[in-house]
């Protein structure tokens, strides 16, 4: 008993130290955002004069929000971003999980190992290398730019490598082969085995990939700016970009736009957290 109590006390102490550490790091991590939050309620002169003051000389102002929203055509671009991010994320998860399954389980097939090697290699291609060729081919030759569907497919194409890479790791080390073999013996086809047995076990990785990709799509500027040319179908980052300039910037507006752009993805993240936690159960299957 005393042994256990001792252990419990040691654990408590350890947790206390950890919490202190976490709080300190946490403050470091969000300090810049607090700065954003403070300055979003000030006008530009006050921001430049003293970025650290809580309220500027010209007083507290909320005008940055309606201004930013109007200039961005917020609800429309929000709708576009949501649509594009959702579709591209789901598509990425489905095609990459499928691809990684066949790659892991049939690693000896030439096609599999080649595809995987190509994908890994492609992850280090700087986007700037592909930028002009990409628009030359799909705009210049096929003329299919300026559509949300094209953007969704391109987003998926660009993120498939990394998602496959991550699912590859997860299937490789966390999904026991015995389970699949059992399913096959029970008469499942491989297609069924994948969807019924393997995919559900990948939940923590799905949640991770979903967050990472959704965030990347939500924030991506360069690719959408190349693909989408009509204002009607702009996404949030393109609309926000209108605030930055070479010769002048309205920092207050930028900060407001920034907050508006961040909120949805933050909410998504908090929501998906649960599934990452649910990974504990998924992992336990293996033991």
């Amino acid at each position: 008993m005393t042994q256990n109590e001792k252990a419990a006390a040691a654990k408590k102490r350890k947790h206390a130290i950890m919490i202190v550490l976490l709080v300190v790091v946490f403050i470091l991590f969000i300090a810049p955002f607090i700065l954003v939050l403070i300055n979003v309620f000030k006008d530009q002169a006050d921001i430049t004069a003293n970025p650290l003051s809580l309220i500027g000389e010209h007083g507290f102002t909320t005008k940055n929000f309606p201004d930013a929203m109007a200039k961005m055509d917020f609800f429309n671009v929000f709708k576009n971003s949501l649509l594009i991010t959702t579709c591209a994320t789901i598509l990425t998860i489905i095609v990459s999980a499928m691809a990684s399954f066949v790659i892991v389980r049939n690693g000896k097939w030439k096609a599999c190992s080649m595809l995987f090697a190509l994908m890994i290699a492609s992850m280090v291609i700087p986007f700037q290398v592909l930028m002009v060729p990409l628009v030359s081919v799909y705009g210049g030759v096929f003329g299919i730019l300026n559509s949300r569907l094209t953007l969704i497919l391109m987003h998926t194409g660009f993120s498939v490598s990394m998602a496959t890479f991550m699912f590859h790791g997860a299937i490789h080390s966390n999904i026991p082969l015995e389970l699949e073999e059992a399913a096959l013996i029970d008469g499942c086809s491989r297609w069924q085995t994948f969807w019924k047995i393997v995919f559900p076990l990948l939940k923590p990785t799905v949640a991770t990939v979903a967050i990472i990709d959704a965030m990347a799509f939500w924030n991506d500027y360069l690719l959408p700016s190349l693909v989408l040319t009509d204002k009607e179908i702009y996404t949030i980052p393109i609309a926000t970009q209108a605030f930055y300039g070479t010769y002048s910037t309205d920092i207050g507006l930028v900060m407001a736009a920034l907050l508006l752009a961040m909120l949805p993805i933050l909410i998504l993240y908090l929501f998906l957290q649960k599934y990452i936690v649910a990974g504990v159960t998924a992992g336990a299957v293996k033991g």
């Binding site: 430049t48 789901i90 705009g139 969704i152 970009q241 010769y247």
Partner: protein, 432 residues
Amino acid sequence: MKATLKRVVALMTVLAMSVLLLAGCGGSSGGEEAPSGSTNGITIFNSKMEIQDQLLQMAEKYEAETGVHVEVYYSSDTVSAHMATRYSSNNPYTLSMVDAKDIYSLAEEHAIPLDDEEWVKDTGYAISIGGHVYGFPVCVEARGIIYNADAIKKVTGKDFDPEQYKTLTAWKGLIEELKKGGMESPTGVMKEDWSLGAHYLAQVYEEQDDPDAFLMDLSAGKVKLMENEKFNSLMDTFDVLMENNYAKASAISAEREISEKKLAEGEIAFMFGGNWDWSQINQFDYTENMGMMPVPQDLDDGMNEMLVGGGSKYFFIDNSSNTSEEQRQQAKDFLNWLVYNENGQSFLVNDCALVPAFSNIELPISDPLGASVSKYTNDGKLIPNYNYMPDDHYAILGAMFQKYLAGISDREGFAKDVETYWHTKTLTSHSE
């Protein structure tokens, strides 16, 4: 297991539906909204951030007035990179606003000649290549020393008259006086590479008798900058700016907004810049008693009575099959509207606070820096911009100039850097 399968099926259905929905949207937006390729209205690319707001508002009024739909676009990307992607994807703007150097690289292949336009006779700033006019000048911009007259008067007690401080000796005297009077550091220096490299250093070339010949000689190794009168004269002035810089201790981390704020509010009295700085200065508690003066120099070649500048930002009209004849006409009409319509003129001068490049526009310039530029322009006291600089000039030599500003290299080292840079270039003459 069943439940999971159901969920997967549901997911797939949602996905399929959303894809279909999107395909539908894509189709319909092509149908009603008229993409840039169709004949209904024109698209304008704006590369001058500070007038984006005004352009957007103008577009609405313009449509109400003329019935022509105008879409205004802006990109914070490098102008040439943005143009490259638009041309690669076969999706050019009807009217594109670019920098002078871009006109030289783009126009012959992508622009229509504007020789027969009425406005050509009313401006001295249009860009012609091979005998054809391609570039419509959006405005005139000039650089020199920006001063805050109120700040000076507050210390000296006298009205500030820039005419009296044309020479470096006189100007230095004034700075000493300001320092004695309590203004510890009367100047500001922008550390931006474009300000140092493309503006201040460029002035060394532009103030030569024949800039083109000078640069040819420089690249051929025939010029020793340390022996060049102009280089030394301008660097002497720069040394004074540097010596009295409020941010002397950390000159290359001085932020532009802070310098402009100090100038606007009179904490410092002088800064090298241009009339585009007004869009920054007017964000702060500024005084109207500001203006621009030539860079003071002790040489008596008359250059210390002139600002350096000329046309800035040019419109060209796309010549590809993506733009219809009708759109080209609408674009030409728009340019004419800017020059000859009362509302167009007022848009340029009052809304955008630009100095127009057209002699027929007589509206008074509202901002003090623009007013100075306009005065020097009308008096013919403007040294023309040199528009043929190699594309990497401002970045590379801007960085070398920053080294000088930071005290890492001295004048001799900097001169050597400039010479070395030019030695790697093979130039062709541009004199027409």
